[in-house]
Amino acid sequence: MWIHTYLPFFINRIRLLYLKSKQLSDNVLIVEDRADIARRLKRAVDATGGITLVGCAETLSGGLDLLYELKPRLVLIDIGLPDGSGVELIRAAAKADWPCDSLVISIFGDETRVIEAIQAGAKGYVLKGQDLEKVGEDILAVLDGGSPISPTIARQLLTVLKDTTPVPSPCEDNVLTGRETEILKAVARGYKRREIAEQLGISAGTVGNHITNIYRKLEVTSNMEAVAHAARLGVL
């Protein structure tokens, strides 16, 4: 009789522990070829609660191997790897069949590569030179669903997403709404999120959501472009 009472209790406890352990720590994989920067990022991850470093690679092929072996929740990817472009790794992470996000490690947050990476499926970027706490904060923010953005990225997005797409879409997946355009223009001028929220009379969280949506549209655009390109080539 105590089996009926205590067994479900035990099973529940074990389940809770398992979930908690999952929540407690997201696994992070770092792919960076410069040793000093890799060490710095390791220290940043170690210092931040909620994320655990499970692996570190210095090449693209090494990174891909570790990706499939360790199945991390998050991958920090440097674009300029010695044996290829980190964008391939981002694509692999995007196609992964377990929850996996990728972040670009960037020196300046220079837009072309970041935008390429976002089009390939990255969630955002972290700056190499920032304080360690800042790096940790950025990682957690991205895991939470936020998306960092810089003025030049915002300006580029305005051009890329306003351009006429090669495939006319029946749904407005790749066209910016008026509010989104306003936000991007403000970001391009150097305003920060809370300032924009104050100006527009919305919450900072809403601003963040808009930016995330914009990034998704960028990904959609690049997908559609790829589809259109493939259709033209007669592949589809």
Partner: protein, 611 residues
């Protein structure tokens, strides 16, 4: 619509008849006495036994028209009065008779006819050998042979000196048979030419029509020029009249093609009738041939008038000159056709000269002229086209040159862009990466050298600024935004915050990456000054179309530094110099709250001159 056609038809008929009557009135070829020769105006008709001198027949003589096609003979005897002949050679000259004649002078045969050739349109000139003439009266026996269906004719004839009679004979001969024979050759050659052109020009219809019409014209000219009877009387007569009708039909088709009209109904009707008539000609007897011929000719005449009507109604389709020529020729041809019919049906004195052989020539020349004018027009169009072509080619060449120049410029610009991007990438990855790596190394080895760390961070910021200025070369506000992102950590370290008030992009007189970089450096220097010296809490950055202002709420700048050239330690002289190099006015002043550094881009006018 129908009324219009009928009225025009009537008008055409009246016009044709009027011209015909005019021609008849002129009485071309009326036989008049010739000076110096004796004109025989009466002859006694003889039957088998004797002649009847007491009841002479007046010449011209026309036999009764009967539907008989067998050749009949009528004999005449004319008496020449006592004429004193001199040394000159004498001749007998018959201007017109039909169809054959045997001539005897005082019983001796002077002339025997060629029965295969009819003499109905040719004059006859016979030399009289002197010994045959006897003094006193001479008698001339004429055996006139012909077909009653067509009619036997004998017009007054002449006896006299050869030289006196010759001119009239020559005149009659030249404008009659000679003209017909010459035009036969002409039309035959023309016809062959048309048929060759038809073959060469990919079987273009109009040349076939003209070639065939020339063939028909040849038949007519053979009849008028030689009086032949190829294939026998029945066959030849049928061929002749069918040829005339075909000729009319072919010319109608040709003119209609030239006008650019649809096939006319009369063409079809005429063709149908022709076919029926051809069949009829085969079956009927030779006696009825003349009636048949009459019917065919009337048909032709009616069709010709109908054609004239159509041309008149559509006269706006071709040029005025073209139309007048075509209309006049066809009208003349119709009138001459009518004239010929009158001559045949109602022979009279004064109607001795047939004119119908003019018609094929006239019409052939008309068609030739039409073809020539087509050719001339084609050549003109070709010239215009060639000129236009030359012009177009010249234009296109210029356009092409311009396009190539533009393309070269674009390619050059793209090459420059590619090069710039490559340099940027190298700087970014190379120097940028190294700086970041060095900072990371310092951190990991616990190096506490703040001066070194600040210097490295400043170098990193500077590199970022240079790269940003190259990238954001068309938007100064974005550049300032990036500057904020780079400087914000530094501000936080010193407990400062930004009051960001970017309104519009300032309008620079010389926009470009280097101007933007100068401006960014000025702003950066101003902000760094605030961080280092102002002891403030808020830095306000404000831009609009004409100004950039950096102000703070600190202790305020030393008033002595406001003057140009002072306080080099704060970097003010270099800021001033940078501002001048981009065409902006630089001011620094101490305000009630703190310090304000301003750049002004508005063009100087009396209103905004600084006091």
């Amino acid at each position: 619509m129908i009324a219009r056609y009928l009225l025009t038809y009537l008008a055409m008929f009246v016009l044709t008849s009027a011209i015909c009557i005019a021609i008849l009135f002129v009485s071309i070829g009326r036989i008049v006495p010739i000076e110096g020769a004796f004109q025989v105006t009466e002859a006694a008709m003889c039957d088998e036994d004797a002649c009847a001198p007491t009841m002479p027949t007046q010449l011209p003589y026309f036999s009764e028209k009967r539907n008989e096609s067998a050749v009949q003979t009528v004999t005449f005897r004319a008496v020449l009065p006592d004429v004193s002949v001199g040394e000159d050679l004498q001749a007998i000259y018959l201007p017109k008779y039909a169809d054959h004649i045997v001539l005897r002078l005082n019983g001796t045969v002077l002339y025997l006819p060629n029965m295969a050739r009819r003499h109905w349109s040719q004059p006859l000139f016979i030399d009289v050998p002197a010994p045959l003439l006897q003094s006193g009266e001479n008698s001339i026996d004429l055996e006139l042979m012909g077909r009653p269906a067509e009619g036997l004719e004998l017009y007054p004839f002449f006896f006299g000196p050869k030289d006196v009679l010759r001119p009239d004979y020559l005149w009659r001969y030249t404008f009659g048979p000679a003209f017909a024979r010459f035009s036969l050759a002409f039309i035959a050659i023309l016809g062959l030419t048309y048929l060759t052109v038809w073959w060469q020009r990919n079987w273009e219809r109009q040349y076939l029509l003209l070639g065939l019409s020339c063939a028909c014209g040849c038949v007519v000219q053979l009849h008028f020029g030689y009086g032949v009877l190829w294939g026998g009387y029945h066959f030849w007569t049928a061929t002749l009249h069918l040829s005339i009708a075909s000729f009319a039909l072919l010319i109608m088709k040709f003119v209609r093609l030239h006008l650019g009209l649809e096939e006319l109904r009369i063409e079809r009707t005429l063709l149908l009738f022709l076919v029926i008539a051809a069949f009829a000609a085969i079956v009927i007897s030779t006696d009825q041939l003349q009636d048949w011929a009459l019917f065919v000719n009337v048909l032709t005449g009616v069709s010709a008038t109908a054609a004239l009507t159509v041309y008149w109604i559509h006269r706006h389709l071709i040029g005025y000159f073209d139309f007048s020529v075509i209309f006049a020729c066809v009208l003349l041809a119709s009138a001459l056709g009518l004239h010929e019919m009158v001559l045949i049906l109602n022979p009279q004195d004064g109607r001795s000269f047939h004119l119908f052989h003019i018609v094929p020539v006239c019409i052939s020349l008309l068609c030739l002229w039409v073809i020539m004018s087509q050719l001339v027009r084609s050549l003109q169009r070709y010239e215009v086209l060639t000129n236009t072509l030359h012009e177009t080619v010249a234009e296109k060449t210029v356009e092409l040159e311009r396009s190539f120049a533009r393309l070269a410029r674009v390619e050059r610009r793209e090459a420059v862009d590619r090069e710039r991007n490559r340099i940027m990438m190298d700087l970014h990855d190379g120097i940028g990466g190294q700086l970041v790596s060095t900072l990371a190394y310092m951190e990991s080895t616990g190096n506490k050298d703040d001066t070194l760390k600040e210097a490295l961070e400043a170098a990193l910021r500077d590199l970022a600024l240079v790269l940003d200025s190259l990238d954001s070369h068309d938007s100064l506000t974005t550049l300032l935004g990036m500057l904020r992102t780079r400087l914000e950590p530094l501000l936080e370290d010193h407990g400062l915050r930004f009051d960001w008030q970017i309104k519009d992009d300032p309008v620079l007189s010389q926009a470009g990456p280097s101007s933007n970089l100068h401006l960014a450096r000025i702003v950066q220097e101003a902000i760094t000054n605030v961080i280092k010296h102002a002891n403030a809490q808020t830095i306000t950055v404000y831009t609009d179309a004409n100004t950039i202002q950096i102000s703070d709420d600190g202790i305020g700048i030393d008033p002595a530094c406001v003057a140009p050239g002072a306080c080099a330690g704060h970097g003010l002289p270099s800021m001033r110099q940078r501002a001048e190099s981009i065409g902006a006015r630089f001011t620094v002043e101490r305000t009630a709250d703190g310090t304000c550094v301003a750049l002004n881009f508005a063009p100087v006018t009396p209103e905004n001159q600084p006091a």
